[in-house]
């Protein structure tokens, strides 16, 4: 089976998260726990369902990924965009994985960079 990770949206703010190797949830795809067997995927999904019951996340599912050197790439464009944030607002994107977290990052500047006329 191809490599997979488990993703969901946080209940509180809908933010994109992945089940991490440490067993919790992370915002960074690169920190996600990668599995390559049906049994392991089922194990992760079972953990995720417990997080649903614990009101941490909603609607978890597994997505195929591919390791590329040090980074991890989601195979579908949809999941690549979920991993990074909207492609049209550089100021709202997630910084590269392992960043200091959304709130403190330059990515969250609210200044509008839309090119006005």
């Amino acid at each position: 089976m191809a490599q997979h990770v488990v993703t969901a949206n946080r209940l509180g703010d809908g933010g994109v998260v992945y089940l991490s190797t440490a067993g919790g949830w992370t915002e960074w795809l690169s920190e996600a726990d990668i599995v390559d067997s049906d049994a392991d995927e089922a194990r992760l999904l079972a953990i995720a369902e417990r997080a649903v019951a614990a009101r941490l996340v909603v609607a978890p599912y597994a997505i195929p990924v591919e390791r590329q050197g040090a980074s991890l790439k989601a195979l579908s464009q949809r999941e690549r965009i979920r991993a990074k944030g909207p492609t049209i607002h550089p100021q709202f994107c997630k910084p590269e994985a392992g960043g200091t977290g959304l709130e403190s990052s330059a990515c969250m500047s609210t200044t509008n960079t839309t090119a006005h006329w």
Partner: protein
Amino acid sequence: MYVYDEYDRTLVAERVAQFRGQVARRLSGELSEDEFRPLRLMNGLYMQLHAYMLRVAIPYGTLSSVQMRQLAMIARKYDKGYGHFTTRQNIQYNWPKLDAVPDILADLAKVEMHAHQTSGNCIRNVTADQYAGAAADEIEDARITSEVIRQWSTFHPEFSFLPRKFKIAVTGSPHDRAAIKVHDIGLRTIRNDHGEVGYEVVVGGGLGRTPIVGLTIREFLPKRHLLSYLEAILRVYNQEGRRDNLFKARIKILVQSMGGTAFTEKVEAEWRAIRKDAVDFSSEDFARIAAQFAPPRYVTSTAHSAEFEAARLADKDFEAWCRTNLAPHKQPGYAIVNISLKPIGGVPGDATAEDMELFAKIAELWSFSAIRVTHSQNLVLPYVRLSDVHAVWQALRGAGLAAPNIDLITDIISCPGLDYCNLANARSIPVAQRISERFASLDRQYDIGELKIKISGCINACGHHHVGHIGLLGVDKKGEEFYQITLGGSADENASLGTLVGPAFSYDRVVDAVETLVETYVTKRQPGEIFLDTYRRLGVAPFKEALYGSHPA
């Protein structure tokens, strides 16, 4: 504009309190996501790719300066400093946190706004001609009819669980600015031979998976019978519409499967049966509502303003903007001003909190505090004195908001697409941005003339691609973004659906393909023809050949 009465206020306040309780119960675990989802959707709250999204209703696209300021405040306080105006004349916030949503709804309620009927299988917010109350060619203010329908349909018990969502659009002029032929019901205000005002009733139009141009089931419906007739249509739909198949549940499928004549007969029979007992609004009711939309206190002026003419002569840029962004007003000495939310390379329909505050201020100073949202994701100042138009332009231009491109190739409609939307196949916004940049030259835009490009990120067609002169539809090919191109669509009184031109183009090639189509038109057009005319005269063949050669793949 329409002011809430006590009933509206109580209702909205109750709904906010109810939703606060529901959110608390969701967060405490009393409600599961499955139980909570329908409740949040009833309050306009969706889960998108990266966050929740709150869709706020702007009934018939009408906003006051006070409301616009509140929208700006909400964008700043609860979101990331901007909002997105949609093709349904709504505004969407892309980043609200769940526990803040009840507060947002409470803040909206303070300015008589809400997020009801933006979701679910009910009669959705009525959309109207954005020039209502101001257009020179208007027979009657479409907001009056829209408000009559709103009052009748809000939480109407019989019609809150329809087979599927239901959208009504109203245009107050013979010229259709509300795309009424692609709505479940479209009403076109007309005058009959006796001078009586009424509606042409169009039913069963729609976009999405099965795009259909609606059918006129009544050439003339006197105004006083509006509600009983709508009731008859909805009754027939409620009884006969399919509830077993989501994709076949819209009224357009019912009209198609019954056949236009049979459907019309059924509605007419139902109408005859209920007419006596139905709740039709009396002319006094209409008058009461019309009073809410009384014209502003215009300053009496001549049709001509020397000041305005002099400014046009003196300033080339101002003149250019006037040519595209003004529309004729019914009041002598006034103009309708369009504010383009499509700066070159910008996100169609996005406005920052600062932009919104500026619009509020400009409207307050020069447009009787009135603002409209258009289904093309632009804004309108409906009541600007000609002698103030130059000042309005200067204020907009100072903030980079005076794009002179209404109805030109860079005035692109685009849905949120795969940058935000959970249902998307492909991105829409960056495609719009790249097309806009490609055609940035104003001389080139003027030379091309009116050309409506509309982009949807999936078959749900929020970007109205079927009725674009050039329509782009995002499709997914093995996880990559591709775009199908349709040509020859139109949403006005001569509505037509676009024809698929051939195989889809990749994200990287689609902008070149659009340019090829435009160049083909430029080469083949006859004097005075816009893109749509040339397409209608020549058909798809020359465009197809230009894109794919004589042997399309």
